[in-house]
């Protein structure tokens, strides 16, 4: 004779599959009807609730953060390899390193490898036998270049080479591609650090500008590479793009100390490029890419305020800077408006709100309102904008000032999102490695939780009805 639990299970499955109705099930088991009917009714009333979709912004941001997390954790794991490949520079004293590399160069030239090998290595790609020779040769060239500006230009040229390698490896070999991306980061970091060390002596504006313009170009190249990804390499390419943006901001911050107007101009070009990319992607139906570009645009827009603050801190007038940003906003709003209906309204609205907030900020700056530090004695020429004469006049934009957009999605700073969160540590005791989600790396598992092991009492058919309340569970 079938037990109630089996009848119940069969009836639920049959009703869910449409093979039977509640009434026909009950008719088959008239003697069990009294027990069966209420349980079946409860079971069938459990339905998936509507409208449970994550916000698009969240999906994109969470994806980006996931990829960053993966990348970071990978970098930590392979730090010893990086040490062998490139970290030597960071650890050795520069003089020791230079000496060592010159010796390596001499050995390379006079060893069996010879110049032919070095020449052949020039076309090699990450993962190929001769690639380490190519990198060593580049490092030797850099070490043998004693002019700072020339060294920066050399590192930028190497960064171009890395991008070519990335382009050649995309869709082919993800591990080698990652090596190329790491190399790109290294070259840009070398260039930036060199320029920043020169900025201490006050002679580096031109160098910083050179790097910044190169990064603008790099972003376009990386965008093109990103568009060509069809199988593997997307994460690595996005890493390169994210790094180029971060480096750009770092360079512009330094540039803003000396020449904030130029830093603003470059940031505006950068924003314009992002908007154009968003527009083109939206027109081509690449919605996710378009939205991704709009989020990057929003970040750049916020960064424009940072440039202004740096300018003020270093005693520059912010009037011209804000005027530049205000004049760019008109075009920006027009492009964003044209994307209406092509990407999600949430992202359009949040982008417009960002522009609105930026407008308000720069209006205050351009008018030199008291309290923002803009009316310093060094800025006698700060005349307020004539109201009503600019397209950015309040009332001419759809954005109400003060309506800051809620940032959907999680920032790495938010609790619960960091791998280091207490309770999410790999060291958490009591997790059995066999279970998915219960591995030593898995947070959130309760070692004492009954029912997570097959031998747990209370989960066998022989002992129905004896399940104890499980510890740690929600109870009201």
């Amino acid at each position: 004779m079938e037990s109630i639990k089996d009848i119940l299970a069969v009836c639920i499955e049959d009703i869910k599959e449409g093979r039977r109705t509640l009434a026909s099930c009950l008719a088959i088991y008239p003697d069990k009807r009294q027990q069966l009917e209420p349980l079946l009714k409860i079971a069938l009333s459990i339905k998936e609730p509507p409208s449970f979709r994550p916000a698009k912004d969240f999906k994109i941001k969470a994806r980006v953060q996931l990829m960053e997390y993966i990348h970071d954790s990978r970098s930590k794991k392979t730090s010893w390899k990086r040490f062998l490949r490139s970290g030597i520079r960071e650890i050795w004293h520069p003089v020791q390193l230079r000496t060592a590399m010159i010796i390596v160069a001499i050995l390379l030239v006079f060893s069996g490898l010879g110049t032919g090998t070095v020449y052949a290595a020039g076309n090699s790609l990450p993962g190929e036998t001769l690639y380490p020779v190519k990198i060593a040769t580049e490092q030797v060239r850099s070490l043998l270049t004693f002019n700072d500006t020339a060294q920066i230009e050399l590192e930028l040229a190497f960064a171009d080479t890395r991008l070519q390698e990335i382009e050649a490896l995309v869709n082919k070999n993800v591990n080698s591609l990652t090596v190329g991306v790491e190399g790109y980061k290294r070259n840009i970091t070398n260039a930036v650090e060199k320029a920043e060390s020169d900025s201490d002596t006050g002679v580096s504006s031109n160098e910083l500008e050179t790097i910044s313009l190169a990064l603008l170009q790099h972003v376009s190249v990386i965008d093109e590479i990103n568009d060509s990804v069809v199988s593997t390499g997307e994460e690595a390419v996005r890493q390169a793009l994210g790094f180029a943006f971060t480096a750009q901001h770092r360079v512009l911050r330094s540039l803003a100390e000396d020449d904030p107007l130029r830093a603003t101009e470059i940031n505006i070009i950068s924003m314009q490029n992002r908007l154009n990319r968003a527009k083109n992607n939206a027109n081509e139906g690449e919605i996710m890419e378009a939205e991704y570009a709009l989020i990057q645009f929003q970040e750049m827009l916020k960064f424009s305020e940072e440039i202004t603050k740096i300018a003020r801190e270093f005693g520059h007038s912010t009037t011209d800077i804000s005027a530049l940003n205000l004049s760019a906003a008109t075009t920006q709003l027009e492009i964003i408006g044209n994307m209406q209906g092509k990407v999600s309204s949430e992202i359009i609205d949040s982008t417009k709100e960002c522009v609105g907030e930026s407008l308000e900020y720069h209006k205050r700056e351009s008018k030199g309102s008291p309290g923002n530090g803009n009316n310093t004695p060094t800025e006698p020429g700060n005349t307020p904008e004539e109201p009503g004469n600019s397209p950015e006049e309040p009332g001419n934009t759809p954005e109400e000032p003060g309506n800051s957009p809620e940032e959907p999605g999680n920032t790495p700073e938010e609790p619960g999102n960091t791998p280091d969160e207490p309770g999410n540590m790999p060291e958490e005791p009591g997790n059995t490695p066999e279970e998915p989600g219960n591995t030593p790396d898995e947070p959130g598992n309760m070692p004492e939780e009954p029912g997570n092991t097959p031998e747990e009492p209370g989960n066998t058919p022989e002992e129905p009805g004896n399940t104890p309340e499980e510890p740690g569970k929600v109870s009201v």
Binding site: K5, E234, G472
Partner: protein, 188 residues
């Protein structure tokens, strides 16, 4: 690119999983694209608010990446493995909060029923059911949600939870009995 991600066949998904197990982050990114909505929905059902659902969903994929090297194929689909991770995180989330206050859902009351009254009635019915489900012991919760919200078969649930189908039927029966008792008590 979105279309490209959404058209993955079962074989493609298998390949994505294999590649992810081998450490291919790009392919894991595609797995994220495929399953993020479903995981979010599952988590949201259990926590009832956007903020926690977003935090936990993100953490599910981070944890999945950490554990992917040890993933072993079973007869249950890959999503069941992710749901298991979600389940553990939600349990941990409530445990850490220590506060047993229930979040009311941020649900909209949809006019999908014959009348507004009916819609409201259905809304409260689902809210009540959810509360009762959330008070079940962890394992019973998991089986109920996997069966009725996620639509897994008993065989799939059994495989995902490393139990027999017989175990699952017992757990299901107990869970429904407990729900029945609690619903009756609340109505009194």
């Amino acid at each position: 690119m979105q279309e490209k991600r959404n058209t993955e066949s079962a074989t493609d998904i298998e390949l994505l999983i294999d590649e992810s197990v081998n450490g291919n982050a790009d392919d894991f990114g595609r797995i994220y694209d495929l399953y993020v909505e479903r995981i979010y929905r599952h988590v949201y059902y259990r926590v009832g608010n956007t903020k926690d659902a977003e935090d936990l969903t993100q953490q599910v994929f981070i944890n999945a990446w950490k554990a992917i090297g040890r993933y072993k194929k079973t007869t249950s689909p890959f999503i069941a493995w992710l749901i298991r991770i979600s389940h553990n995180l939600v349990i941990d989330h409530y445990r850490k909060k220590k506060d047993t206050t229930y979040f009311e859902y941020e649900w909209e009351i949809k006019d999908s029923y014959s009348s507004p009254e009916k819609s409201v009635e259905k809304y409260f019915e689902q809210q009540q059911l959810r509360k009762v489900i959330m008070r079940l012991p962890s394992e019973q919760q998991q089986v109920i949600l996997m069966s009725f919200i996620e639509g897994f078969t008993y065989a799939e649930i059994a495989s995902a939870l490393n139990k027999t189908e017989g175990n699952i039927r017992v757990i299901l029966h107990r869970a429904l009995k407990k729900m029945q008792q609690r619903l009756q008590t609340e109505q009194l």
